[in-house]
Symmetry: D2
Subunit: 287 residues, 4 copies
């Protein structure tokens, strides 16, 4: 079991009379991921907010703030007990048997134009036997094809752009892997989470973007950017792509400071282990 101490500070300046924020920074509730305790403070006493959990366990927060500085402090203790399985035993689910909720993740989306990449994807992966290993092959190809470079992409960069430009950040790796998976009829979705264990050369702990692929009746995690330790990634939100799984979407005249994130894995040798790399398939949910 992984036990994470998550701490987050967000700071904004609101320049308009009010501004609306839609946040996804609360860890999701899933059978494998439990929020043991949490605490949120907001500096604006007049701000109104609410947190609403949806069917996937995602916790959507909305907040309306007034002119002036807005600061949020959030701490949570989260325990993750991954479902893990031997990759050789994890099969693809035939299209006909996909649940409706998974089925909608085979369609193209804003940043994952899988319709355009069908030819490319079939050339690369069409001949591989179906199963977890095929999703892993897509993940490996993306990691090899794309170079990680900070600030190399922007908010409108799509999977096709990343395929062509061969450069990006974690969100771009995720979009390209998702698009290629969907192109070969593998349901794949975007996850906004945190990146425990990322290469210190990339800076302190941060939000992270990775991928879940629907295999064997579950969503399995993949980290195509290869920058984090999957066992230590904590799920905040899922969606078709970054368009509907951002950690913050803001409406109004607002300037932002960089979020400050701390992430500590507690370990005591017995009950709680440090996240490590593994060859097992890891999943945190069936929906």
């Amino acid at each position: 079991m992984i036990r994470l101490q998550f701490s987050l500070e967000l700071a904004y300046s609101v320049h308009t009379p009010s501004a609306d924020f839609f946040f996804n920074f609360h860890p999701a509730h899933t059978p494998q991921q439990t929020v043991m305790s949490e605490n949120l403070t907001v500096n604006q006493t007049a701000a109104i907010w609410s947190v609403e959990q949806d069917a996937s366990g995602q916790r959507n927060m909305r907040l309306q703030a007034q002119t002036g500085p807005l600061k949020l402090n959030y701490q949570a203790t989260v325990e993750i007990s991954h479902y893990s399985d031997d990759p050789m035993q994890i099969a693809e689910v035939p299209l006909y048997q996909l649940p409706l909720d998974a089925l909608r993740y085979i369609y193209p989306s804003r940043y994952c134009q899988s319709d355009r990449l069908a030819g490319f994807a079939y050339d690369l992966f069409g001949h591989l036997p179906p199963g977890y290993a095929r999703a892993q092959a897509v993940c490996d190809w993306v990691q090899q094809h794309v170079k990680f470079r900070s600030n190399s992409s922007c908010g409108t960069t799509s999977a096709i752009d990343t395929m062509v430009d061969c450069v990006g950040v974690c969100r771009d790796f995720a979009h390209l892997m998702i698009a290629l998976c969907r192109a070969i009829n593998l349901p794949a979705r975007f996850v906004t989470g945190t990146d425990y264990g990322a290469d210190p050369a990339l800076g302190p702990p941060d939000f992270h973007a990775y991928v879940e692929v629907y295999l064997g009746g579950r969503w399995y995690m993949f980290d195509p950017s290869g920058t984090a330790i999957p066992m230590g990634m904590m799920r905040l939100a899922t969606g078709r792509d970054a368009a509907d799984a951002a950690f913050a979407t803001i409406f109004g005249g607002v300037t932002s400071e960089a979020p400050r994130i701390e992430m500590v894995a507690e370990h005591n040798g017995a009950q709680w282990q440090l996240p490590v790399h593994t060859d097992q398939g890891l999943s945190t949910s069936v929906v």
Copy 2:
């Protein structure tokens, strides 16, 4: 009340050992739209299929067919009793108060890159007072800006393409209107339906693509292509755009014939009226 007799013939040839079809040709069940009776026949006795209704009342059919001809015949009698209201009385819903289900329709999607069109949309519509009339202004602008031309677009044509190229079919008009609405924070979604009352010059009754905008706590219908009589449009499926609301999505080696559609409005002068153009806002559902 509108009473429609809907008849549909679909004909395919399956060239691979099997093929999977995901259909959305069943009329949706909503408080305003009732399927009084329906009948489906499939020529392949070995085909397996199921129909599953989701929370929005959409009825998703999946079917697995074998090599050879596949023919579906479907008839339904549908009654539509629109909710209608005075456009002057229909307000926009503040972002903070949008239900989660509506909120996801303000994000960009595959064919509706509202993130790119924000500047354009604010220049054109940002100064207008919020409300139904503003959505109508977007609808009118799209109808004026884009020329209807058969076969002028293809499966990858997006709202930006249509904005630039100024030409398209009903699906393209819908995508552009949706993208512009979302760009000014109006939730908007794609509807696949039927086009009772379309200009005979455009051919016999057909599937149709139009738009619903979330206003005053309901989804109101708009027909930016201007080719049909909204009161006679029957909802089959809704989605973010054509990527997830197509009437048929097919996996496998399949060739298709053009679908044959018949649509008759029964009328008896009292209980059942013929669809006519109206200045009222029309809605068929709150979800």
Copy 3:
């Protein structure tokens, strides 16, 4: 030496009071390609036209026609005596030494966005030793990556589209090869010519699009679509891409019929040979 009998019929209907045509169907004059005789007839006696040869030997025709049918008949006898060399002996020209006229063919153009493809091209070809063989490697890769399919592209299809979609016609193969060559600093240009020896399955002789790369102080021919016999290709026009090397650019309300082309290689066993495939590098000009 190759001796070609070229015959062309073009038929249009002009619907506006007048229409302007810019043609490039006259074979270019180069030290290696000689027009022995030619004859042009135009059915409209009131049409005005002129043919102007530019520095590259390209013969640009402009014609102004009136309402009604327009028919052009053109015949030419052309002799081509290729410059040929051993690929192992053909070196790349260092950037600093490129003549200005060749230099402008390393920049991106409408359909050949080499700026975007630099990362991709360096991954694929950056490690190869410079020289003719590297251009050939680009040609081979394009031929392998892209599937030839009639009507799979349109007038706005670019090299990036073809890279992504993996399908196209000869013009698309040419654009992708050009973009990849420029991305590794090889001057490359688009040629509109004819396709003697094309696979009969693709239909009768036709206009053809292929590529010339500047190597060893000359322009060498490459046929990335692999559909013709390079020795039998006849050059009409060159340009950065199809935007400025089309065989016909038309302004006005005009409908076109498919051009009718005949191409016969005379051969007598001694002086004139039939075009055949060769491993030699073939060039028809230094400018």
Copy 4:
């Protein structure tokens, strides 16, 4: 007559054994623009370079530098005696009569996809009487449609991007105006020059991008960004767009500092005047 003192410092660090630079910072030689004197110093004594003037009077410099710092200092005294005319008297040149050199500027190019914008351009400008005023209408529309914002675009931003995004820098304004002009068959080209008289809020004198349109047998200047005084703009290079008219194109591992430019207009009340805004059409060349 305008008399400009132009001073330029360029500073680079070359990290590879050598690097190739193609510069266009020498003022062009045209009948209206005369370089009275100039002086260039290069810090690397081993660097080799040459300057070659082409038919348009553009002076293309190539330079090969070695590892280490590279510094160029250039000063020139330039006199510009514009050809000017009453806009009402400046007609469009019929397509059939365009010289070949002008004709090539009606075709789409890398950043100016006029082929895509034909519908849009005809809707906006098709009904206007031909002539200088129509080009001015395009210029005015672009200035009104696009917001100037520093760093809002990047090297791959095209006219279609700017049309959609409604934001850009001088180069983007120029690309959009060029694309719209070509779309209505007006030859238009990109000019890299200097921006004497720019709004001090935009910083010190800098390189500038503007447009020339072929009208009445000459190239007339337009400044769609509206940030400079056209009478004070000095031409360095022309091309189809920024792809082939950049002031510097660099091959090799090189980091750059911002160029330092000084631009002083000498004036003595009689022979030499200060540049001022004018309603006249201004031209610096016929080719």
